[in-house]
């Protein structure tokens, strides 16, 4: 079994070693111990001031509690439940109904200084979630919006997550970690925050012309506002505003609907029949079609577009990696930095074709520096199963059958043998 790139990187990490000079250790350990000492001193100083604070707090809290009660009475805030102006529902009703609902669907809008996203979210408790991307814009993200998945399905029962990329008909499946279902988790966290106990009933509020009862929860650096339907006591909109390191983040869940019938097919972990499926952990690719030499040709053809009309230095093999070859490979990677999703997939299909060849296929890549269109210079070859001749791909991407003895002489190949 051939190793995936991830497995190879893992192996390299495992074999990586550093030898650290004791001067480095002295510097780091010395500074860290100094910092630990300083922290100890501050701790003992603050312990002294804490005693003073405890004494003061006892006096202050008595006055503060009295003041809060007076303000509450003046503003008419009802901390127990119910509302100041006769709204018919209490927070406890909202909590109870949200907990009882088995399905929920909403439009999720997120906005921060560098990102804006709009998703349609469906949750079927306790296992399934699905988000459909409606709009996505990120200044910081390396991926353009075209390369963003359009559908993400989480299944906590299978511990899997499936992403669909309709533009290239690619599906990616991966483990969803130990306690999976990102959307379900976010929703569970939200329900937990609802139980924070700090909610305020702000009374009747119009939301887009609709009557609602509004509640507000303040927690840490977060403010949650819930607009609930006075008839059903279920939220119709929830806004979460938080601030982290000066960055204001706003989550808005709008058009919320509960307990609607959702088709389980929406949460199917089987991609559409015409999609390719890639396993994120192993990079194994399943295609709904047979991988043929046509895919290899298309994969090879990607590179001259980005590499000044030449084929890449290595493609699933090639000249042994000297320092010079390594530098050339890395220069190639730099040039394909912004390749399109389609080209990336073509290259992947080409690689997958080579990976599925039997071990004795004798695949060789000799396309380094070959110009696209060169009819006489080979780029790669392999021996199909049961064949006595080799299939040789040339610079014009034509393929010819060549006898083993007629294969071109490649000095480094002889050295390798």
């Amino acid at each position: 079994m051939k190793m995936s790139s991830a497995e190879k990187i893992k192996k390299l990490f495992a074999k990586s070693e550093v030898t650290v000079n004791s001067k480095v250790d002295d510097r780091i350990v010395g500074d860290a111990l100094t910092a630990l000492n300083e922290s100890e001193q501050i701790k003992s100083l603050s312990a002294e001031s804490n005693i003073w604070r405890i004494v003061m707090k006892d006096r202050i809290t008595k006055f503060a509690a009295a003041a809060i009660i007076i303000i509450a009475v003046m503003l008419g805030i009802n901390y127990i439940s119910g509302s100041p102006d006769g709204a018919s529902i209490a927070w406890a009703d909202v909590l109870e109904n949200v907990e009882a609902a088995r399905t929920v669907m909403y439009i999720h809008e997120f906005e921060s200084s560098d990102k804006k996203e709009v998703f349609e979210t469906r949750i079927m408790e306790p296992y399934y979630s699905r988000i459909d991307v409606i709009a996505y814009h990120s200044r910081a993200d390396v991926m353009g919006s075209d390369e963003m998945y359009k559908v993400a399905i989480g299944n906590t029962k299978l511990n899997k997550n499936l992403l669909l990329y309709p533009n290239t008909k690619m599906a990616v499946i991966g483990d969803d970690d130990v306690s999976p279902g990102d959307e379900i988790r976010a929703y569970e966290r939200l329900k937990k925050d609802f139980r924070d106990g700090t909610e305020k009933n702000l009374g009747r509020v119009k939301l887009n012309g609709r009557d609602t009862v509004c509640f507000e929860i303040s927690k840490d650096n977060k403010k949650i506002t819930v607009w609930a339907d006075p008839n059903t006591a279920l939220p119709i909109q929830i806004e979460e505003i938080s601030e982290e390191n000066g960055d204001r983040r706003k989550f808005l869940r709008r058009d919320i609907r509960f307990d609607m019938k959702l088709d389980e097919q929406l949460f199917s972990m089987v991609p559409p029949a015409d999609y390719c499926l890639m396993d994120l952990e192993t990079q194994r690719l399943q295609t709904p079609f047979e991988l043929t030499e046509k895919h290899l040709i298309e994969g090879l053809a990607v590179y001259p577009k980005y590499l000044d009309g030449k084929f890449c230095t290595r493609y699933m093999g090639g000249r042994p990696k000297t320092e010079e070859v390594k530098r050339k490979c890395l220069a190639d990677v730099e040039k394909i930095q912004n390749w399109s999703d389609e080209d990336s997939n073509k290259s992947t299909f080409g690689c997958a074709f080579i990976e599925q060849l039997p071990e004795d296929s004798d695949y060789q890549y000799v396309g380094e520096d070959v110009k696209f269109g060169d009819v006489n210079t080979p780029v790669c070859w392999w021996k199909p199963p049961g064949s006595k001749t080799y299939r040789v791909v040339y610079g014009d991407l034509s393929i010819r059958d060549i006898e083993p003895g007629d294969l071109p002489e490649v000095p480094w190949l002889n050295d390798k043998k």
């Binding site: 990187i9 070693e17 111990l33 994969g299």
Partner: protein, 179 residues
């Protein structure tokens, strides 16, 4: 000694516990920092800063998961900050001066030596955008789950998976054979 106990002792001011945490994770964190930055000098600074900050704040530190993953996350964050600072500094310098700001792995260092595998790994990762490199290194070397990486970077778990996939895909064809 288990990490939780080491942290508790450290919180009580034990110099020995701090030293043992450093010895336990130094190499792993240094490898991570080098893989992320492709710069031994910057990697040393990142690991230094993380241990000093850890010692400074250990009194209020609560270990909720793996200490290794926590330190790896801190190193990744610090590397990102230092690289950003270096880039802005390099922008303000002439090209000749700017070249001297980064000291990459091919230059011999008297203080930290990398073996061939680490050099190869770091060179390969260096050609990926930092965002993709970070996710690959944290997931594979830091053994951090995508969800944890997402939380620490403040992005969605699916974006993390996307970065991972794109990074791996780029490395796949060209670097195949050797790594």
């Amino acid at each position: 000694m288990v990490d939780r106990l080491l942290v508790t002792k450290c919180k009580q001011g034990s110099r020995d516990a701090l030293l043992r945490i450093y010895e336990k994770y130094r190499d792993s964190l240094m490898i991570l920092a080098i893989a992320l930055s492709h710069d031994v000098s910057l990697a040393e600074d990142a690991v230094h800063d993380v241990f000093v900050a850890f010692a400074q704040n250990v009194a209020s530190f609560k270990l909720t998961g793996s200490l290794k993953a926590y330190l790896a996350r801190c190193v990744a964050n610090r590397v990102r900050d230092l690289m950003r600072t270096n880039r802005s500094r390099a922008k303000a310098l002439s090209p000749e001066q700017a070249c001297s700001v980064e000291r990459d792995l091919n230059e011999p260092s008297l203080l930290i030596a990398c073996n061939e595998e680490l050099r190869l790994l770091s060179s390969a990762l260096a050609e990926l955008p930092h965002e993709q490199r970070e996710v690959i290194a944290l997931h594979i070397h830091g053994q951090m789950r995508f969800r944890v990486i997402a939380k620490s970077l403040g992005i969605s778990v699916n974006t993390v998976k996307g970065r991972y996939r794109y990074g791996i895909q780029k490395l796949r064809s060209i670097l195949n054979g050797e790594i």
